[in-house]
Symmetry: D2
Subunit: 342 residues, 4 copies
């Protein structure tokens, strides 16, 4: 923490130094021609920069420490690999998760799973509890949906992932799915983050709609601080002024995350762009940027989807995408995980 | 819903018309020189525009209906007035809620309450469960905090408000506070929205960090659809590229809300700007824009605050603000509610 | 400038110190337990922080100096007052500039001017060269427009302002108008900024569509560095994700500017909101936030306007606004300038 | 254009229809149970939707026409290919433009050109007139810089591109460079757009810092409407709330542009991310997304660069990038243009 006190009196400077000392922080005062600066090192959880900003004589407080610890590359140099059944995120091999936005019936999900697996997908996704902007939109099959995804996963030998939105449902999810997803709208639902960690299941942590990379890593830090480091981050587009696409897929976040953190990071070009038309090129772009996997919306019949139809691939689109990715990953020195269909 | 199908074949158009008919929607086809357009009217919860966007021949689907119903001015022409003890939001009189970001101790909150009331505040605020970006920051006194705010509120005869973050705590909150706040990060925590409505308590609904006005009203719609229309909306700044201020206070949202909805709307210039320095001018600006009240962070000793010190007013700042507002509200044809201090 | 070099070797640190010394910058090295930090003071135009960010061992370079000098409150403590005929910006009295977006004919502008003056406006605005998003939209009457605004201004004894977009037209503008406007799209047209300064006329400098407050002040710095300090800043809304309003009027920028700079700042709620409906409340809000004036689009017949009709006030709307502002300014300890109509 | 008039009276509807008729627009009225809608077709440059929004009874005006004509895929189905010497943008082969942000000396640019060409670059870039946020920053060598880039280009047989900022310099640029760049800050400098078109030279049109894809295409439309269709669009990052990277590179814009327009589009990951560290992965991502080329900042000695050092690649970085791209383009069914070094 750096405290700038350019025009401060000696008394004002001493008050700040006293306070730092009380909290056990190591501090230095540097006096220049036109500036007085205090450097403070120590336990960040104690020092609370906000406290100093309001003290007389203080111009500015600059936080130079990285706020995330367990999630940082400094804390752990080697890449974390998160394994969910046959899917491994963070290594050389790249798994693709596919499936519909919402689980609509056993038949719909089974059909989705069969085509996903046949094309090589490593995991099946499907929403049972849907956070919808409108209370009048389809809210998901709830518990029934979880039973369906568990059954389909077992039948097809595909690990499954679904989004949890209520801390009271975590146990139920843990019984039915192999990986728990924290959705965009809940990235800073800290109650949920703390408790989902306790499930000991791998967590798919989506970036918040307007979350900075730092806030996203702090959400991961919540989960890790509760004892669970099986986290896969997922870039899914951020909100900007551009309205041509539903969101702006921030692919630079991928190499940034790989640089500052050891956690695996995948991309969701379906939500990230909002239209099936951009999913193929942006999937390739995500992999070229270094993504450790993809999360793709695919529906047996997108025209009839109860949720997010416009951004869903058809089975044919998805199969083409997997073929395209196969060649691409090789050129990038990686390997596409290809499930063996039934 | 308007469906544009400029270059569509007759067969493609008929497929769309068939689907609309199946769902019981009234539809018209208009054929122009270079365009084919379908207008569909009926129950929006059924029509799901996304379904059509993916159908062959469809260029664009435009939703022209207002998605919120109960929250709209069309549904209820007269203003809703929400009353919490002596405070009434939505009428001619303007109440101010004041207090610290976080409850730190009985003494701190009592002192805050005494000075708030002496300056004329109508309600006391204080956080017991704090949603913090870092798991290592102070997370609030939790249940102990609620007991403190209840006790202080009774002692000082001030209605109190605090933020609820967990659906399992709603009953506890309902026993301790007069109004339940839904915070920015939980504006789309739909589980929480549905259940907080059942408390039958008045709700203070903050705008999400990157929520559109429409999404914000849809969050209110969730609460209203669950049977509670005692909602006060609170503009608290949105996230933009500007970093000089913590957030960008979107005051135009206030006249917009007053025009399209019957719900009262107040402003929180403390979070909205992030610095005590801008709280006085932006409080006045909010009132001049038509706000039905203010939510102000005030701390007996901001330098020592465990949370949000930089944006807290001192008791002297707050007292000055109330004096400034007194003259201003008169010039605007409104009236500042002024509590009689002890 | 602060240079963080936490894990740097002594040799790396010495290379940075050498470079700073070569450029004549005064520097200090502070070594902590886990950090090495260099503070450098001196002529910012020489030090170019970007140079250091790329040097081995450097983690981060923090610029702590204010980049604007002449525009800063440190450079000049007392408020700058910019006078254009009867209008003075930056003092106790608040002038209002009104008029149509585009000059369409002598009659249209004359009619606008008469009603503006009758309601008390201090200045008349009107665009002759219109920067339009589409090449197919009306581009203004150009030179003919300037002749009209000059004639109307003289006839009505109203100072006039119009937007200049081409450095080659500056002399022409200087002959025809009393104040030159730099529009949003040209805020960083540095060629134009440098030359418009040489006109020695007062400049109305609008904020860029996505400009930070700092970049805006740097644009003013360009004009001041070229020898002209007769600048009035104008907040006109920034681009955000919110689409309900055309732009997001950032009123907090007003007290921020008043704090960090000595230049006057006014608001343009017409462009800032995009609809006449929000102009009245947001004009009041701007004044309550501390604005030194307003720029209001008003058209004798908005339905027939060739540009920006939806956000234009009618003469009746404008007259009502001036009445509303009259009471408000008094309550704020300021005074509305009221022209005496003919 | 669609005009919604749900609660309008017959008289109000007739007024709108009359006005449309006067302007020669073909219009239809559709009356539903709860809605009245007018569809108008015809010359968009005449109809000005804004005019109707303000008319009594009108709820909303929806513009459904594409505002760009010449730049649209409807106007021209086959891809435009822009050729600048050996570089062709828009075909199967992908050219890379490299060079320093600013031209500093003949030696610096010559050295940059030699290493760029040796690694396979198709074109050389370098700024002579630099638009800088601060008037105190290095503003470029100006005319001297143009002479240098012309000489180096000839010497090395590399086509060259540089940014023009002043309409009065266009002829000078046309004599010295093979392609004229319109920079981010001038994307809506319409005076410059119209005149640069007349140079008959190929134009590199960068996206504005906060420009929508539509506004960007409208800027291209300005150039095309002035008779020049040799335009290469360049995505260079947009401004968002994320501060970890200098800008947010919006790669989805690439497939979007390829879909709606026939113009070639390249990416500038140097400005798009702001750090050399992300240039390699984001270059690959841009190509995978479908970009027709790249614009890369490369400096013989980035630590000494007078502008944008942090985001410049070293010659070694650049050479590695070209090797990486070589394999990648093949896997994508395209071909990297590789200049034969001297």
């Amino acid at each position: 923490m750096i405290i700038l006190m350019n025009a401060a009196t000696t008394e004002q400077v001493n008050r700040v130094l006293d306070k730092l000392r009380q909290l056990g922080l190591d501090s230095h005062l540097i006096t220049g021609l036109h500036s007085k600066i205090i450097m403070a090192n120590g336990d960040l959880s104690v020092c609370n920069p906000a406290l100093y900003e309001r003290m007389p004589g203080v111009d500015k407080v600059l936080l130079v420490e990285t706020p995330y610890k367990l999630a940082s590359r400094e804390f752990q140099r080697e890449d974390t690999i998160v394994t969910v059944g046959c899917a491994s995120f963070g290594g050389k091999t790249i798994p693709v998760i596919a499936g519909p936005c919402a689980i609509e019936s056993y038949d719909q999900l089974y059909q989705a799973g069969v085509t996903a697996k046949a094309a090589g997908a490593a995991m099946l996704r499907g929403g049972a509890y849907k956070p919808r902007t409108s209370p009048y939109s389809f809210q998901g099959l709830e518990k029934k949906g979880l039973e369906i995804i568990k059954a389909v996963g077992r039948e097809l030998e595909l690990p499954v992932v679904s989004e949890v939105t209520d801390p009271r449902s975590i146990d139920l999810f843990a019984e039915h799915v192999d990986m728990l997803q924290i959705g965009t709208r809940n990235m800073q639902n800290f109650v949920l983050l703390k408790e989902v960690a306790l499930s000991k299941k791998p967590i798919l942590l989506k970036r918040g709609l307007a979350a900075t990379i730092e806030e996203w890593l702090m959400a991961a830090e919540y989960i890790m601080a509760s004892g669970n480091n099986q986290i896969v981050l997922c870039e899914r587009g951020i909100r900007t002024y551009e309205t041509f696409t539903r969101n702006t897929l921030d692919l630079t976040a991928i190499p940034v995350i790989k640089h500052v953190s050891h956690l695996p990071v995948i991309a969701d070009p379906s939500h990230g762009t909002g239209s099936w038309r951009w999913v193929n090129p942006m999937s390739k772009a995500a992999i070229a940027a270094g993504a450790d996997g993809l999360l793709i919306e695919m529906h047996p019949n997108p025209e009839e989807a109860l949720s997010d139809g416009p951004q869903s691939l058809t089975p044919e689109n998805f199969s083409q995408l997997m073929t395209d990715l196969d060649g691409l990953t090789g050129a990038l020195g990686r390997l596409l995980y290809k499930n063996k269909g039934e």
